[in-house]
């Protein structure tokens, strides 16, 4: 079965990122397909590569990158939500005249159409948020 996952909150502040990661790993283990993970609202903050949490804690942002690398999961950050909150890839930073970018490996920035497309293509959409 194909799942699209929507993540509406940033890492650490709410458990939603952790719950989504656990759900996705369990789904992959059972042989399901994760069609797409879409990050909206503060969820875009999952995609930063500048996080350095305490050594004895999990690094949520890296866990997403690992998921993309090992399972080819499509991690899409909403561009409008990202612009409000300061999550940038190299192209978008350049286009906006900014001097830095902060996106983590495995994430891509795109439009809300990618969410709707994911909802249409997947058998189920599961929403994690506050």
């Amino acid at each position: 079965m194909k799942f699209t996952i929507l993540v509406n909150e940033g890492p650490y502040q709410h458990q939603s990122s952790d719950s989504a990661l656990q759900f996705i790993r369990a789904a992959l283990e059972k042989g399901h397909e994760i069609f797409r993970v879409f990050f909206y609202h503060d969820g875009v903050n999952n995609g930063t590569r500048l996080a350095v949490p305490p050594k004895d804690d999990r690094l949520i942002q890296s866990e997403w990158s690992t998921l993309a690398e090992e399972h080819g999961v499509d991690l899409v950050i909403c561009i409008a939500a990202a612009q409000r909150r300061g999550l940038m890839d190299a192209d978008e930073a350049k286009r906006q005249g900014l001097d830095a970018n902060n996106i983590a490996p495995g994430f891509r920035i795109s439009g809300l159409g990618q969410l709707i497309d994911g909802n249409i293509e997947a058998d189920r959409t599961i929403v994690f948020g506050d």
């Binding site: 929507l6 969410l115 709707i116 909802n119 249409i120 929403v127 948020g129």
Partner: protein, 133 residues
């Protein structure tokens, strides 16, 4: 492939960004030519309250956008009667959101339908994809 999309709005506007960013999704969904409905439950009914004036809080108001949704064939606004009553509100407190019915000589019709909680439960159960923010 067309699916029935339901956007469930249960939070007041402006205190959080969910109402605004939910509306941005609805606008995009409409462009995908899906069957789109909106549910206003609990404090979500405040999203379509009339007379919203955000000057004093320094934020951009976006309530006019709900009225523009009719042009994108988004004209099913289900509002829960019990949610209004619990808050001391009536249908008169809501914006008169309308659309032009292309199957009825473009007659102007109301987009808002006030439903009971039991009817809302039924509407929610008939969707393919339910998004909540």
């Amino acid at each position: 492939m067309s699916k029935k999309f339901m956007y469930v709005n249960r939070k007041a506007p402006y205190g959080t960004v969910y109402a605004l960013e939910s509306l941005e999704v609805v606008l995009i969904a409409a462009a995908f030519e899906q069957d789109v409905s909106l549910a206003f439950i609990d404090d979500g009914v405040y999203q379509i309250a009339k007379g919203q004036d955000t000057k004093g809080i320094g934020m951009k108001g976006f309530s006019a956008t709900y009225n523009a949704l009719g042009d994108y064939d988004v004209n099913k606004f289900y509002v829960e009667r019990e949610s209004l009553e619990e808050r001391g509100l009536t249908e008169d407190d809501l914006m008169p959101i309308v659309y032009e019915d292309e199957n009825d000589d473009w007659a102007e019709k109301p987009s808002v339908k006030i439903v009971s909680r039991a009817e809302m439960a039924q509407v929610l159960s008939e969707q393919d994809v339910t998004l909540s923010f």
